[in-house]
């Protein structure tokens, strides 16, 4: 049973990683990244490292996932990007919602 659990956990981990990178839609990739962080934290608990699991869940999945959602929102919030002409840059400080 323990080996079955390990194999399932590792298989899910790798499947989420591959799925997240083979996804064209950004939002799907980011959600799968958050889910990956959760499963990695479970793997740390399984390997007898609960303090690493604590840091991974709070930082690796929580903070990183939140930052990535914020970046996706920033990129998505402009449906038409600025013109690609290198001469035309937007005015300085116009878009600073960081």
């Amino acid at each position: 049973m323990t080996v079955a659990f390990d194999v399932l956990l590792i298989g899910t981990l790798l499947w989420i990683a591959i799925g997240s990178l083979s996804e064209a839609k950004l939002f799907k990739s980011v959600v799968m990244f958050v889910v990956f962080g959760l499963f990695l934290a479970i793997a740390w608990v399984r390997l007898g490292a609960p303090d690493v699991a604590l840091a991974e869940a709070a930082l690796g999945a929580g903070v990183t996932g939140t930052l990535m959602l914020d970046a996706v929102g920033h990129i998505r919030s402009r449906t038409t990007p600025y013109p690609l002409d290198p001469g035309e840059h937007p005015a300085e400080g116009e878009d600073d919602d960081v």
């Binding site: 390990d6 591959i18 840091a55 690796g60 990183t64 914020d70 920033h74 990129i75």
Partner: protein
Amino acid sequence: MSPATLYPLAGAALFAVGVYGLLARRHLLHKVIAANFLGSGVFLILIGLGKRATGLTPDPVPQAMVLTGIVVTVALTALALALIKRYYSATGLTTFEPLDESEDER
């Protein structure tokens, strides 16, 4: 298979997935995600090798290193995301070269 062999192998596979994503995906956010996977693979190898036979307490030194590494990864990711947002605001691009119309990934 004991966890001491299974998890480092999974870490190696995860590292390979990360390298693939870092090289093959063009969107910068995908590259950041792939770099995170790559780092997680290394962490998995370290902690998996630190886990000794059942009954023994795991080796604490790799755990401390991984704990530091997670914090460094978060700082790195935050910097990369801030740079991507700034780059997007300045140029309207999300890759290093303009995308074709047909494969617009935004």
